[in-house]
Amino acid sequence: MWGFYFNELMRSLPFFLKGLWMTVAVSSLSLILGTIIGFFGGILRAGRNKPARMIVGAWVDLIRGTPFLVQIFVIFFILPGIGIELEAFSAAVIALTNLTASFITEIVASGILAVPKGQREAATASGLSHYQQLRFIVLPQAIRSILPPLVGQYVLLVKDSSVVSAIGVVDITRVGWLTVQRIPEGLMVFGLVGLLYFAICYPLINLSGFLERRMTVVSTKL
């Protein structure tokens, strides 16, 4: 029986690859958008404008304090009620972008705040404008402490993207869920699902660890 199911599973491999493609598409779209928004959020959060700091902080708490599954339900079921019609795919990208942006905001803000204060003072004394300080002095140094957790956040993003299967986006997890109704070998089906995620996440985790070691070496040399 096991062999029969195994052959069946192999025959539905193209379906799994479609799911893999969907996971990659949803994740990479959210990755790009989330990183851009997160950097702006982080600059505001570490900036001098107090109301902006507080609003960004409240938003981050709101996103951090609620489960992603609830957030995606809110976006998918409530936004249509106030006149914004969304299909599952766009709802998934919006929810994941929002989630990733809030975490990257915290990463970027703490990276900026970790740059020694003297650097900014020296820049001010050299007559650099606020934008120039950020662009030439603070961000290039902050990026060293931002990069490793940023890649770590991308791993979380790929893993969190599995939750969008709950609103019917046909990603790897959803494909597994659909397949297991037909091939009742849960260990085998979700073993394959896990393997596909592993293929994406494991290299990213190692990249994050590598960056961490490398960045620390560089900063102690300076």
Binding site: T66, L69, K159, E185, F190, C201
Partner: protein, 222 residues
């Protein structure tokens, strides 16, 4: 925006919410205890002399960290019955949560222990302290000081992750929102109330995390 927001329905469903709030609390509480226990064991294995132990723990931790919780949950939910093991849904859910968070706790505890300077342990040996005295008076107090914050952070993640149990039809906070939505077609009332309950837990744990940093017992190390 939400002028039709109906507080009466929320009040009507309050008993259900309280019941589900309690369910989320004890499901996460039990999983938290189990996860810390699994984390301590996995960490001890990872730091042990035996190469076999080290690689078993390594494979466990890497596998868990590279795959999404939802895939792990479905793996047990669909996989255990296909092996002939029939368990109530909530047991399956707790197993998945424990094994998932356990891997992260193993890494947190390991980082905490390895952050202790080796000279501390040598000084303990030189002072004639036994292994358990060293553990009790030197290593653990410092490791606790190092790890209390990330441990509480993981506890917050665990509470949020427990929302995924709603997808295998366990009654907890997120499920309560789904019930209200499907019975009364009021997703806004349903899921925003759910979110509010999660925020209560989040702010409590966050406040505790900030408070513990100020407490002497956790600061002995610093």
């Amino acid at each position: 925006m939400l002028e039709g927001f109906n507080f009466r329905i929320i009040l009507e469903y309050m008993p259900l919410y309280m019941q589900c709030f309690a369910a989320t609390l004890w499901l996460s509480g039990v999983s938290l205890l189990g996860a810390v226990l699994v984390g301590i064991i996995a960490c001890a294995m990872r730091l042990s002399q035996s190469r076999l132990m080290r690689s078993i723990a390594g494979v466990y931790i890497e596998t868990i960290r590279s795959t999404p919780l939802l895939a792990q949950l479905y793996f047990f939910y669909f996989g255990l019955p296909s092996m002939g093991i029939m368990l109530p849904e909530w047991v399956t859910g707790v197993i998945a949560l424990v094994l998932n968070s356990g891997a992260y706790y193993a890494e947190i505890i390991r980082a905490g222990i390895q952050a202790i300077a080796f000279g501390q342990i040598e000084a303990g040996i030189a002072s004639g302290l036994s292994y358990f005295q060293r553990m009790r008076h030197i290593i653990l107090p410092q490791a606790l000081g190092n790890t209390i914050r990330p441990m509480l952070g993981q506890a917050i993640i665990l509470v949020k992750d427990s929302s995924l149990l709603s997808l295998i039809s366990i009654m907890e906070l997120t499920r309560a929102g789904q019930v209200l939505t499907s019975e009364r077609f009021t997703p806004a009332e349903g899921f925003l109330t759910t979110a509010a309950f999660y925020l209560i837990i989040y702010y409590l744990l966050k406040a505790f995390s900030g408070w513990s940093e100020k407490r002497l017992i956790f600061r002995e190390a610093h």
